[in-house]
Symmetry: C2
């Protein structure tokens, strides 16, 4: 008995990272074309190119589908009502991006804190201008989102001598990495004395615009904000206004609205704002890491065991046991 | 009995950070002028502006001097033969800059690794160009120099999932932060499989040009080098040649030769090189931190107790108990 697995190709194509197995046959699917006839028989689907909306557009072709794996942590592009209400299990690539994303986030925090943008601009102008800068040590960071990426970031922040708080779906105390976690309703109160805010939220109806103009208004003018989760979770206009008015010291966005950011967007030129093209998780080797995770899940699927990283299709993400 | 303390002012002036004491009288000295008459009676001298060479130039004026404190970690500008062979005790500001310097160093490592220079250039050009980048996790770093700044950097590097080795004056095994420390003679061998080299050396006759063309030639083309110690310890020309030829992936220099770097130096334009104007230790509050250290030493001096951070005037730095 051979399992037929559809693979919606990404860019770059990634078929060489999937190990061939005698009990599995892969059907590779060009996201720009309708599914080949044999794809209708696929029981599992691995989606590299989550942006294509491929499954939503061709949902009725996949009549035998039982499992979909997304090659991302955030699944808002893969999830749609028909999938959500079906019996098809959705898994994501949670954990694959934690280390790279946490490093990238800490890198952005340090870049803002050490004013690296100005140093690089001075370098391009051949100017030697010494300045005093801040330290992360002794400062605090509010992690908005308490999933595994936020957790790894919190661990490194603690190693750097920062104090950490978390904002999650439900409040709890004494988490080893986040310390006290407060519920989203207490977000504005947590922002009042924040030195850094790091946003690592999935895109769900619940998180849309969670960090809004009123929350941003609570931040001190010395505070800095980093978003590496999803652009939809932040009122981007309110952030830019705060930066332009000097009500916020700095910000870095690896995610934003829209993506890719058009060349004529005013966002590129907002003062003290670093724009990074949604690349924080794209570490060299990510395709192999996802293929390895998929293969582990494939083994479980073939054995009839519970899959790893099952997305709660109502919540819109794979919940931690704690949250 | 009042102790007379000379204070060679820096830029910015820092007299307001020194607490007034009934048993101490401060005489503030403009580094551009000869010592005032009363300075001859100073038994202690606090030098903020170590670059001025003030004490060397006016050595014979300070007839009653017993103790000199340098407001820096590196003392090569303060140390000169007459001071070295005298009974005057020299102390430095070791430990004051550890945290800031370690953070800055990690920030430079992450900037190089995540290719932040290119991202910021793309931002200025309004271009959205996603790339894959490396992680620090799983990579190794060779710390050249094993003093407290290197130690703090090593601790953070370990928290980021890196493996760490050290190069010190004497070999030893099983250091909690550096792991195995090899002697400088084994430097080239240690460079062969280095992912990152971080140089945190003082400027002494022993360290001059320690990382030379032959050492740089041992590095892999994927390696990256950061110098936050002193420019004299690195063959800068060899580094630039390696970067220009693509024999090295990247480098960042916070210290170099000469400083300040003149506007017409070719160094500003070397590919994959970040030039930072010797500011890694200049955290907001450094003057207060040095004043606090000086005050603790002043207390000891008045009590006749051994001073903190005594520089070995033969070695040219304050040695750790381990090294």
């Amino acid at each position: 008995m051979t399992l037929l697995v559809g693979v919606v190709e990404g860019d770059p194509p990634s078929r060489d990272v999937l190990a061939s197995r005698p009990d599995v046959r892969y059907v590779f699917i060009d996201p720009g074309s309708p599914p080949p006839a044999e794809a209708a028989a696929a029981e599992a689907l691995l989606i590299w190119n989550v942006r294509s909306g491929y499954l939503r557009d061709h949902w009725r072709d996949f009549t035998r589908l039982r499992w979909v794996h997304a090659g991302t942590a955030g699944v808002e592009r893969v999830l749609f009502p028909e999938l959500a209400t079906s019996d098809v299990v959705l898994t994501n690539s949670r954990y694959v991006f934690d280390e790279a994303l946490a490093e990238y986030t800490i890198g952005l925090m340090l870049a803002l804190t050490k004013d690296l943008q100005t140093t690089l601009r001075h370098q391009s102008e051949h100017r030697w201008v010494q300045r005093e800068t801040e330290t992360l040590s002794g400062k605090n960071v509010v992690m908005v989102g308490v999933g595994p990426i936020a957790r790894r970031t919190a661990q490194i922040a603690r190693a750097l001598g920062m104090s950490v708080r978390g904002i999650g779906r439900t409040a709890r105390r004494g988490d080893p990495d986040f310390g006290d976690i407060v519920a989203a309703g207490a977000l504005r109160a947590a922002f009042v004395d924040a030195d850094y805010v790091v946003m690592v939220l999935p895109s769900t109806p619940e998180t849309a615009g969670l960090v809004d103009a009123r929350a941003i208004a609570e931040l001190r003018p010395t505070a800095r904000l980093i978003n590496v989760g999803r652009g939809s979770t932040l009122d981007q206009g309110a952030l830019c206004a705060a930066l332009r008015d000097g009500r916020l010291a700095g910000a870095a966005l690896d995610v934003m609205t829209p993506e890719p950011l058009p060349a004529d967007s005013p966002l590129w030129e907002v003062p003290n704002l670093i724009i990074s093209p949604h690349m924080s998780g794209d570490h060299a080797g990510w395709q192999r890491d996802i293929a390895e995770l998929f293969t582990r899940n494939l083994e479980r699927f073939l054995q009839g065991e519970p899959l790893l990283n099952v997305v709660d299709k109502t919540l819109g993400y794979a919940p931690s046991e704690h949250v």
